[in-house]
């Protein structure tokens, strides 16, 4: 019988999606609570010098770059399936893939430039 081919790209996309899901679940809530809510409200405002020192540490840079790349790959996979199924746009899979993975790639390059 004829069969669809085993898809190694889907397997890789899922692995990266899952890795991104784990690191996002672990790190994003606390980072967003601090930087998006507590800092702006003035409830907890770290000194500029302290933040600059933390962000200047090579380990922070590597961890944040990894987080940004994996989080974007997580977004790319989930968002493309949301468009496929939620909006029934499977027929547009080529532009959707370009948008999602192109976006993730561009974001990763931007992250590397900003962080290093």
């Amino acid at each position: 019988m004829t069969m669809a081919k085993r898809s190694s790209s889907e397997a890789m996309a899922w692995l990266l999606f899952s890795a991104g899901g784990v690191v996002s679940a672990l790190l994003v809530p606390v980072l967003l609570l601090l930087s998006g809510v507590l800092f702006p409200l003035g409830l907890l405002v770290p000194e500029h010098a302290h933040l600059a020192a933390v962000l200047g540490h090579p380990l922070t840079k590597v961890v944040l770059l990894g987080l940004c790349m994996l989080a974007l790959l997580h977004w790319a996979h989930r968002f493309r399936y949301t468009l496929y199924d939620g909006l029934r746009l499977k027929r547009l899979s080529v532009p959707i893939n370009l948008l999602c993975y192109g976006g993730a790639l561009a974001g990763s390059v931007w992250a590397a430039i900003v962080l290093f």
Binding site: A4, R6, S8, M12, S18, D85
Partner: protein, 247 residues
């Protein structure tokens, strides 16, 4: 408790209707009556033209699955009193073509099921006369849950991915593939990989999880699919990183 309940039953007669219609029947409301008993009352006493499938009345044959008040259930295990005072809406299983009234076309599932080779695949051709395949209780526990599947297709009716993507292999077929993949006597896992690790196999699943909620036998197809995604992804990764390693 009132002594009757109204059943709003979906009717579809392919020679007369362009789309399903609803017909109301009033049946006795008895404590020990399942929805299926209500349907049989209609068939025997009120309207012999109503068509539906059923057989064992005890949750084993898997043929009386229908949509009751929007949920896919086995009508033999769903009691009228749980919906009192009613009315109760009874429709055919969702996501399948309707042949007539409450009868759906199951050809698609019957094509997909054997495709995953749901039997013990052996590389040696020895029969039971030559060799015994012994198994420990721990080895049995590895797959026993998945072996409870009765092919009732409630999981297909619950799955929005199957509704959107009719080529999706689907929850029960993948769970049954896992039932044999995880069996210590089976040697066919690599044959099933070629069908399961495809865009129409496990990768189509976005883990809505409704198949597991709908399953009347506690099989947890969603869990089986998730587990298989990890297996398939690690195997694929290995074959990409080490193409020289066989399988």
């Amino acid at each position: 408790m009132p002594d009757t309940i109204t059943l709003q039953v979906a009717r579809y007669r392919p020679d007369a209707d362009a789309a399903p219609t609803t017909q109301e029947y009033v049946v006795p409301l008895r404590e020990e009556w399942a929805v299926l008993d209500g349907l049989n009352y209609i068939k025997d006493r009120l309207d012999g033209t109503l068509s539906f499938r059923w057989s064992c009345r005890m949750g084993i044959c898997g043929s009386c699955g229908m949509t009751v008040n929007g949920n896919p259930v086995l009508t033999c295990g769903t009691f009228l009193t749980d919906y009192a005072p009613g009315p109760i809406r009874i429709e055919p299983l969702a996501n399948f073509p309707v042949v007539r009234d409450l009868v759906v076309e199951i050809e698609d599932f019957l094509r997909k099921l054997p495709a995953v080779k749901p039997w013990l695949v052996r590389e040696d051709e020895q029969g039971v006369d030559d060799v015994e395949f012994l198994q420990t209780p721990a080895q049995l526990a590895e797959y026993q849950q998945y072996s409870m599947c009765i092919n009732c297709m409630l999981c297909y009716a619950a799955c929005p991915v199957y509704a959107l993507e009719p080529d999706f292999l689907g929850p029960a077929a993948i769970a049954l593939a896992q039932r044999y993949n995880l069996d210590s006597r089976d040697q066919g896992a690599h044959q099933r990989l070629d069908l399961l690790a495809t865009a129409q196999g496990v990768w189509a699943c976005t883990y809505v999880g409704e198949c597991t909620s709908a399953c009347p036998k506690g099989v947890d197809p969603a869990g089986a699919i998730q587990r298989y995604k990890l297996t398939a992804a690690t195997r694929t990764l290995r074959s990409v990183l080490m193409p020289w390693a066989a399988r």
